[in-house]
Symmetry: D2
Subunit: 183 residues, 4 copies
């Protein structure tokens, strides 16, 4: 059973730039994380981009979609920034791809002592191997369907959508607004 | 969806005893690990014992079996030493309990810098939520059926049983011998 | 033997802000670092500010100077950002205070897995207890006199001033320019 | 200024043996620790042995003494187990070698998340560069003279000898007894 792991960046993969003291991207830390976890499942890694998810564009999401569609594996994990992970999940979910796609990120980069990256990547890898086809967001030890999850920014957690969330044609209203604005 | 987490000890939960410089058990580290992973899934923890799995007896395994049978949750994770995780899995697997039971451990204790504990616990939590009923061992980023897994002690990894493994009535011969000896 | 520890912020004490994904300051990590190091020497901590050292002003440096002068202890450690640690050392060094003052920082914040903070703080604490009166910068496992050290920004290391460094009245020319600009 | 670093093992350098789950010695972790601390002072490492200090013999201590005496550097750090660090310090101290010798260890091995090894090694390196000739034990952020330090095993800390400690010819009585027994 082979798994595709698509890297897009996000908090989980941020790097400390010593020369300017800022967090950014350089090389991915995910292969190191998988080695730490002593992973031996067959994972094919494809780095599509290393970006803060707030800077992801419509075209970036189309790129991710194409990689998912073209993937020979029907089990796919996508590392992603948490700020717009729900938006990318919606882009993929709408396409009804006949694969299991799990999006995952972290609240604290892997390079920090108190990171949730190892736990989250393990979680996503466990979930993707066992879930039926569909698009999911895996955070906080929970698996969410792509169309019923929201990031609670105040608390830094992911939650089930409440009944009251405004939706249009299956999309969360805030997701639609976000994606129109980022075009 | 509530999950039962049964603690039995094992390498994952070992503690450094400063006064004698040895690894042993004191308090469990698993709640701290789950907090680090920012887990928010509903987990009920029950500590049955904190033991090196080489010291587990027939009666210890019967205790674990009883806790699984009595559990109100039908999703169960068991933290366990890797040396006899396959044996305990066999004891549970033989009972055909109508629940999803995932046994998990670590090669390096959580308290070490280079531990696989966070990744493995995340993995087990992802798997237990999505797997059909049955008994599984989750290690090395893989889910193994209880009756087709073996620990390769030379390499410190878990592998699928080969065709050649001697089995009697569905049990691995080495598991039977081990359990007879530990009576 | 009591030691004064003056906190001013800098990379060593940076904190990850989960809500915006940036590094900044919140509470100091130094007491936690000292506890990790099992320090039992008598240290009195005074937080003067928590700042990126590029944002330190003339007035901030005067504040630090006043705290040093007023300190009842004649052994003083100052945690400081590395970008202008040489400038602050010069301000203090010029005053010929009859105390041992060691400035220290880190290239990687304490909260990162690969931080040099623990090593550097230990180093500064060892040095301050044994050095004669004077002002020093302690980085990279070396003790530098305040008037003969320079940060090599390209390599992220501290070095002895070469003979060729332009100095006016004992000050490095670049230090003078920096401090005039930051007035 | 060149420094000699003599490795003898001890808790600081213990290694986790995955195959038997015990702590022991394999390769030293000290060069990695110095790299983490971004050390750039000129250190020459000599590994004399990697031993639990409870297993050190009279002959081991003579070996360490010879390496100290023969060392071209007059600043020497010795990594050592904490259980008999005071005894080895006494053997060296009695010789009145005209060098600065600092013995250091850790209560928690470097490979643990909560280790004091980085802090302690930094501390020893800071102290050795500034102390006058003599033999010292550096632990808990303090520098102790070799003949006035004792390990409080109950609390896992190092303390100044009290007036009441029984001494014969400058040696602690318990040190003499220990060394006679270990002959």
């Amino acid at each position: 059973m082979s798994i595709k792991l698509i890297l897009t960046g996000g908090t989980i993969d941020k790097h400390y730039n010593e020369s300017n003291g800022a967090l950014g991207f350089k090389e991915t830390h995910i292969p190191g994380l998988l080695k730490l976890g002593r992973n031996r499942s067959d994972i094919e890694i494809e780095k599509t981009m290393l970006k803060d998810s707030l800077e992801m564009t419509y075209f970036d999401r189309q790129t991710i979609l194409k990689v998912c569609t073209a993937s020979q594996q029907n089990k796919i994990i996508i590392t992603h920034g948490t700020d717009t992970i729900v938006e990318t999940a919606a882009v993929l979910g709408k396409e009804k791809i006949d694969k299991t796609i799990v999006l995952v990120g972290a609240m604290i980069p892997f390079v920090f002592k108190h990171s949730d990256a190892e736990f989250n990547m393990g979680f996503a890898l466990g979930a993707v191997q066992c879930l039926p086809h569909g698009v999911y967001v895996a955070m906080n030890g929970k698996v969410f369907d792509w169309d019923s999850v929201v990031k609670n920014r105040e608390q830094g957690i992911f939650e089930m959508l409440t009944q009251n969330t405004e939706k249009i044609g299956g999309w969360q209203l805030k997701t639609i607004i976000f994606m129109v604005l980022s075009l």
